[in-house]
Structures are given as C-alpha cells and as structure tokens.
C-alpha cells in the first residue's frame, strides 16, 4: 500500500494530520450554525433559555474550535515541508485559493470568535448575534476555499503547463472557482458538517432527557438539531459529490473503482449492493446488484455509458504514449529554449505530460519504457478498489441512516414527544457515526485520488520533498503523539463539560453580578 520511504511516510503524515483535523472541522461547521440559530431565537424572543443554550453549546464549541485551529496550522505548512515539489509545481494555481481562504474566511472567523466568547456584555444583543453569524459564515467560507483548492487537485481546470518555469500556471481564475467538482464537494462537505453538529447536539440532549436533567435546554436543543439535521442529511445524500465524478477521466476511474466496475456496462449501469472485489482476477465475488441504479445516481440519465476500469486503463495507456511525446519535447526544450518545433509539440501533448511522469516510478527516463512498463504504469492509475468499494458503501449506508434518524427525530420533536427511551438511547449510542462517515468520505475522495497528487498532472511519488526517512519519521511520530495526547485531553474536557451540564458550566460566569440561574430545569 505505502512504502516506508520518505514519500510513503509523508503520505502517512498527511493522512494522519488531515484525518485528525477532520475530526474537528465538521463539528465546527455544524455547531457554528446551530449556535447562530439558537442565538437568533434568543434575540427574537428575548427568552433567557436560548441565550443559555447558545453559551452552553458555545463552551463545547470552544474546546472543539481550539483543536480545529491547532490541527489546522499543520495543514497550512505541510505542503511546503513535506511536499516541496508539489508546492513548486502547482503553487501558482493551488496557493491562490488557500491564500484567499485566509484573507476572506479564516480572518473573519478567527477575529470574531474572540468576541463571540468574550463580547457578551460588551455588545448589544443584535450586535452579538451578528458576530455569531459572522463566525458561522467565516467557517463555512473557509470550507469553500479549501474545497476549491482540493477540487482542483481532483479536476485541474483553468491551468496549463509552462515549460519555461517547469510548473502549472493559472489561465482562468473563474474556471478554478467554478470548478464543478469543487462546487459539489463544498455542498457535500459542509452538509456533512451540519449533520455532525446536529448529531452531537441530539446525542447529548438525549442523554440529558434520559437522565431527566436540563430538560428545558435539552428539548429545545433536540428540536433545533432535529430540524437542521434532517435538512442537512437530505442535502448530504442527495447532493453527494458523486455527481461530480463524471466530468473527467480520472474521476471516472474513481467512480469505477468505488463501484468495483471492472468492465463497461450498457447504460444505465447497475449499483452493486454487496461484493468482494478481487483485484488480482479483476472481478467481484458474491455480487448483489440493483439494476440501473448506479447509472441513474451517477449520470442522472438512462443513456450515458459509464466506463469500466479495464477500458479506463486502456485509455491511460494512450495518454502515457501521448505524454511521452510531450516529455520528449520538454527535454529538448531544456537543451534549447528556442526550439519552436519542440514547443509546438509540447503544446499539443501537454495535457498528457503527467501520464508520462507515471513511468518515473520505474525508469529515470520515461522515454526508455517498453510496452510492458507502459501497461504497468497504466495499471497504476487504478486506485485501491477493495478499500474504495467498502469505504463508499459504509459512508452511503450511514447517509441513509442519517436521513431516517433525523426524520424520526424531527417527527418526535414536532409532536413534542421527548419520552421515547429507545430512540434517546439510540441517539446516545450512535453519536460517533457522522465522524466515521466524514473520515470515510475523506478516504474515498483522497485515497481514491491515488496515484495522483494532482489528477492526471502530477503523480504523488514525485510530489514530495527531498527529505530523509529520519526527518519525516521524526515529524510524523511527533505529530501523531502530540495530536493523540491532545485528542485525549479534548475528549476528557468535552466529557467533563457535558457531565457538568449548562448550569455548572456557565455557573459563576457572572457576566453581570446578579445573574439568575439558567432557566427552568
């Protein structure tokens, strides 16, 4: 799967730090909007309980937010430390959305989050509400720009290779922003965050309801989270980012891999409910299929054909051959920048240059590769089918579970029935499921991007820095130990504040000297 060379270790480090970061980000995305909704009700009705709710969930938000920021700092600099060639090769395009994220979103979120926590008695009610909304909007805008950057890794639009600088350069900022893959990823990811926030609030509220504690706060929180959760769960499934998987060859490969669809099927293709993919024999065992379903989900049409893995590998061979022409032209240009014939040849085949680079895994000079090696490199374009297939199925299964769960919760809240113990217990038991779905979603999207760092442009094994194993091992071990310790502290603190409950957590807060106890228990 991964080798213990510097690149393999750098990949492990990226996966570990991204997966840690992604434990906290979805909750920030979801909770920030829930806080904004709760405080809006407070400002509209003037009822104290809604302010207590905002502040209590805000305490838990603060613990989570700190971890999100702590793990996010590493992500920002990791491209430079571990992925220097990547940074050089695509910084011209990829860096821009990251920088704009800081400028437009992270600044907004981080500057106002301090006022959210400490500005309660320094601002009018409406003023503070505006601050809370700005934090929520900032964190969601942040996700937008990060996913624009990530969407470009999946579907590198609006850019071209420049042989003078040996890198990808931006040709259209609008194409970068309105990349269809980025747009669908954004909606899908923030919706998943809202589901996470809602599940968090419902699970804790259910626990309070079961214990008969903090009933007023728990019922209201349950209701808000059920309504927002239902809308979000519908959004996360219906607007799943599979819709973006048909636009490019590489995304088609990802789709074929996560469906374990080895051979092209007549449209509309069936959806495989269960199978054990066999990557050696290139077929599935114990397959259970729903006819037509995949074609309908993925293409929203009855006639569009979805190519299978074998056909896509054949396409990759063609691209490698075309890429070799570009590679040869590029080498000639390095010798003489005025070689116009080479420049023209490179221009015609530049889109396939990345495919020729796949050969660098096996030979120093790709031009010396024979047919067998080209076939081998083309075979590398297939991601890990078994992992993809099951990660995707569990994620989608959880997605449908969330719809059912929040629909029932919403119905309970509508009829004001907060006494169904079996459901409350279920809610307490399944609190962790959105995190599992989110982490699997990351695996499907990013592990499924392999062998590419930038789909079709830059293979992962070329993208890393020139570092020693010892260096990367040191930082990998350091971050994992560090993050794991902090995660334990984070969970202990979360638990402590949940057990304390709102009265004690906010108690003695004394925003004003004669502050009444939180409303009716």
């Amino acid at each position: 799967m991964m080798d213990l060379d510097p690149t393999g270790l750098a990949r492990l480090q990226f996966a570990a730090t991204a997966l840690y970061h992604f434990l906290f980000v979805p909750l920030t995305l979801g909770l920030s909007f829930l806080l904004a909704i709760m405080e809006s009700v407070y400002v509209m009705t003037g009822r104290r309980i809604w302010r207590d709710m905002t502040q209590f969930w805000g305490k838990l938000f603060a613990i989570n937010f700190a971890m999100g920021v702590a793990t996010g700092i590493t992500m920002e600099f990791q491209f430079g430390t571990n992925w220097a060639y990547y940074s050089h090769y695509v910084g011209d395009v990829f860096g821009a959305p990251l920088a704009i994220e800081g400028l437009m979103a992270f600044f907004l979120e981080s500057t106002f989050v301090g006022l959210f926590f400490f500005g309660w008695d320094r601002m009018s009610r409406v003023g503070h509400l505006v601050v809370t909304w700005l934090v929520a909007i900032g964190s969601n805008l942040s996700a937008l720009w990060i996913l624009i950057a990530n969407g470009w890794m999946q579907n590198p639009v609006g850019s071209v290779f420049n042989s003078d600088t040996m890198r990808m350069e931006l040709t259209s900022f609008w194409d970068l922003i309105f990349n269809p893959v980025a747009q669908s990823k954004f909606v899908h990811t923030v919706s998943a965050g809202y589901v996470t926030g809602c599940m968090f609030v419902i699970a804790i509220s259910s626990w309070y309801l079961l214990r008969g504690r903090h009933i007023a706060l728990a019922r209201r929180s349950f209701t808000v989270a059920a309504a927002f959760g239902l809308a979000s769960a519908l959004s996360v499934v219906v607007l799943g980012d599979e819709s973006g998987y048909v636009v490019t060859q590489h995304q088609k490969m990802k789709l074929a891999a996560l469906e374990a669809m080895w051979r092209t099927e007549p449209a509309p293709a069936g959806f495989t409910l269960f199978a054990i993919p066999d990557t050696q024999a290139r077929e599935n065992h114990l397959e259970v299929k729903v006819p037509w379903a995949l074609g309908l989900i993925a293409t929203r049409s009855l006639s569009t054909v979805l190519p299978g893995i074998d056909d896509l590998v054949d396409e990759a061979k063609q691209q490698i051959r075309s890429g070799l022409i570009a590679y040869d032209a590029l080498e000639r240009l390095k010798l003489s920048r005025s070689d116009e014939a080479a420049r023209a040849s490179l221009g015609a085949h530049a889109v396939d240059l990345g495919h020729a680079l796949l050969l660098k895994r096996y030979v120093e000079d790709p031009r010396s590769a024979d047919d067998a090696l080209i076939a081998k490199a083309a075979g590398d374009t297939v991601p890990d089918v078994l992992t993809m297939f099951w990660a995707f199925r569990i994620m989608v299964g959880l997605g449908f579970f969330f719809i059912a769960f929040f629909a029932f919760a919403f119905w309970l809240a509508s009829i004001r029935d907060f006494g169904r113990h079996w459901f409350l217990k279920l809610a307490v038991w399944v609190w962790w499921t959105p995190w599992l779905a989110a982490e699997l979603g990351w695996i499907v999207a990013e592990y499924g991007r392999q062998p590419w760092a930038i789909a079709g442009i830059l293979p992962t094994f070329l993208a890393s820095s020139s570092l020693s194993v010892a260096q990367v091992l040191f930082s990998l071990t350091g971050f994992v130990l560090f993050y794991s310790t902090l995660l334990v502290v984070d969970i202990v603190l979360m638990r402590r504040y949940i057990l304390m409950g709102p009265a004690a957590a906010l108690g003695g807060a004394g925003h004003s000297a004669a502050r009444p106890a939180p409303a009716a228990e």
Partner: protein, 383 residues
C-alpha cells in the same frame, strides 16, 4: 483578460505585500508571543497569569491569522520560496508548528481544571508557544541573510544539502533569533502596560527599559556584523525583471558588504534601520510617561523597522543559495505567474481593508484594561 499591470511591477508589489504580511504578523501576533514569553516573569499568582492571558485572550486567534495568511500568500505569490524554505528548515518548522499547536489548546484548556499542576503545565506550554516561534523565525532570517545550502535541478526540484537544525543555530543565526525574541518580548511588555493594571503592568513596565536596550544593542550588533562580517549576494549581469520565474537563468556573485549596498544606492532606505533603533527605546520612554497607547505605536514602528531592514538589505534576493549562488531565489525569478499575482492583488485590495476595519472594530469593542477584580469575577467565562 488583459492584465493592467506589468510583471515587474506586480513582483515589486508582492515583495512589498510579503513585507506587509510579515510585519503584520510580527506586530499583531508578536505581542501575543511576547506576552506568552513574559508569562512566567510578569505574572506569578494564578490571577496574575489569567490577567496576562486574558489581555490577549479575545484577540490572539485573529492575530495568528497573519501567520496563516503569510504562509498562504507565500504559497500563492512565491511558491518557490514556500517550497524551499519550509522543506529546507524542516525540523525548525516542526518545532514552530508543534509549539504553535500548544497555543490554541493552552488558552482554552488551561482554565478548565482548577488544579495548580494542570495550570502550571499550560503556562509553560504557552511560554514555549511564545518563545520557540519567535526564536526560530529570527534564526530563519539570520540564515536567509547568510545564504541557505540548497540547489535546484533542471526539473526545478529543490535539493537541500544542509545537515539539519544545528547548522541553523550558527552564531549569526542565533543572534538574529535573539533580536527577534528581545523585540517581541519588549512588544509584549508594552502591550501588557497598555492592557493590564496592577502587578502585571508594573512588572512589565520594569522589564521594558531592559528589553528595549537589549533589542537595540542586539539589532545594532547584527547590523555591524552584516556590514563587516557577512558576504552578501549580488546579481552578476543583467536579469530580465519580467522574465519567466526560473531561478536558473541568472548568474549570482558574492561580495563582502553587499547587504549594505542598497543603503548606499538609496539613502532613504536608511529610515528602516533608524526606526528599528528608535522604536523600542521610544516605547519604553512613552510607557514611563504614561502614554501606553503611543508606546504601542512606537514599538510597532520599531518592529516594522527591524523586519524591513532585513528585507531591504537583501532586495532583490529572497533566499540566496550558499552552495550554488545561481540557484538563489530572487524577486525576479521566484514569483507566481503574472495572472496569479494580479488576481491575488485584486483579492488583497478588496479584502485587506475589510479585515483591517473589522479588526479595528473588535479592538475598539474590547477596549479598556483587564484588572485582577475582573478576572476574579469571571472564573469560568474568561480564560
């Protein structure tokens, strides 16, 4: 789309903006780092420590974005620098990140248990989160000025040939690191004088003259060393200032005193080192005169002067290579494409004023000093 600015101008503008971001970080997050460094010295009891922590509590998060944005802007506008500096200074960057990670959790977690050992642990974590980044950033600048052992191959892959962390900790690198520590500790002390009352403010005020003197002496020493003891880098032969960003198309030479050449050619540039020398002492005098607000401005100008001195001395170099000088990264060959620089400039011109406006609003809303009574009164709503 026709880009209304030529490549050379865009590169100079982004060199200036890089300076703005680094100086913005040093001024805004610098006082957070400084307060954290001074924590064990200016604040002894728990209430005092909470006073100091809460003086920066509501604003440090926003301030840190200057660093995040700085990283993002280097990635977007100077990708070659981003790739070379962060992979070259690998273990140093790890130390910075590891200690910076301690800050958000330190601020938020410290107050969550009423236990002396727990709180003392986080006090020292915050102390490290202030001291280590300040030191490492200074050391990094010190090494940039001496040149860094990297070369670039024909595929534009950076090969760093240094031996690691300890090589960075050479005498001049350490001196630059100490300049940074002294400068930010002084800045933090000015901020504490401005935002706190009682024993914390008193100790900060007592520290100030020493901090300011140390800053000025070390800065002057570093300046002399650069003028006399360190070979700078010069472009040998003509360079296309609007050419492609390919660092291998030029020749570079080394000369003693080259880093002060810019001041001889453009005497107005001397305003930067003069500000760097005057800022901290002026801040100390103003605090004594009871004008802490003005002192903060003076201290910020001092920081501006010191960071700008480093940048102006090296212009147009950004990251010279000590082993293959021709691989050095300069303003003319390490930037992004013209389109990216332009798009990023438009984004900056739109959003930077907005950021400044709401930052000013937040500081205004949080105006006033933090007192011990206020801290005692808000046991769980404050840090």
């Amino acid at each position: 789309m026709a880009i209304p600015l030529d490549y050379e101008t865009l590169r100079v503008v982004w060199w200036l903006l890089l300076g703005v971001l680094l100086i913005g970080f040093a001024i805004m997050d610098g006082f957070d780092l400084g307060v954290a460094m001074l924590l064990p010295f200016t604040a002894r009891t728990d209430t005092e420590r909470r006073t100091a922590i809460n003086a920066i509590g509501p604003v440090w998060e926003g301030n840190q974005v200057w660093l995040v944005l700085g990283g993002g802007a280097i990635f977007a506008a100077w990708p070659a620098i981003y790739a070379t500096a962060f992979s070259g200074f690998y273990i140093a960057m790890f130390l910075v990140l590891a200690t910076l990670i301690l800050r958000p959790v330190g601020f938020d977690f410290r107050n969550k248990f009423d236990d002396t050992r727990w709180r003392t642990f986080w006090d020292y974590a915050l102390f490290a989160g202030g001291l280590v980044p300040a030191l490492v950033f200074g050391v990094a600048f010190g090494n940039l000025l001496q040149g860094v052992p990297f070369r670039i191959d024909g595929d534009m892959r950076v090969l760093y040939e240094g031996s690691g962390l300890f090589e960075l900790l050479n005498p001049f690198g350490l001196l630059a690191g100490l300049v940074s520590v002294a400068m930010l500790a002084t800045h933090g002390a000015v901020y504490l004088s401005l935002k706190t009352e009682g024993p914390v403010a008193a100790r900060a005020a007592r520290f100030l003259p020493y901090g300011a003197a140390t800053t000025v002496i070390l800065f002057a020493l570093a300046g002399l060393w650069i003028a006399i003891g360190i070979e700078g880098y010069v472009l040998a032969g003509p360079v296309a200032t609007d050419g492609p960003s390919n660092p291998l198309l030029k020749e570079v030479g080394r000369e003693a005193g080259a880093w002060v050449g810019n001041y001889a050619r453009h005497p107005w540039m001397a305003i930067a080192p003069l500000l760097g020398l005057a800022g901290a002492p002026l801040a100390a005098v103003l605090v004594r005169a009871g004008r802490a607000g003005l002192a903060f401005v003076a201290s910020a100008l001092g920081i501006l002067g010191i960071v700008a001195t480093a940048g102006l001395s090296m212009f147009p170099f950004l990251m010279p290579s000590s082993i293959v000088p021709a691989s050095s990264l300069t303003v003319w060959d390490a930037s992004s494409s013209r389109l990216t620089l332009f798009v990023m400039l438009v984004a900056t011109l739109i959003f930077m004023p907005i950021v400044m406006a709401y930052t000013a609003f937040v500081f205004r809303t949080l105006r006033g000093t933090i007192t011990g009574e206020h801290i005692e009164h808000n046991k769980s709503s404050l840090y």
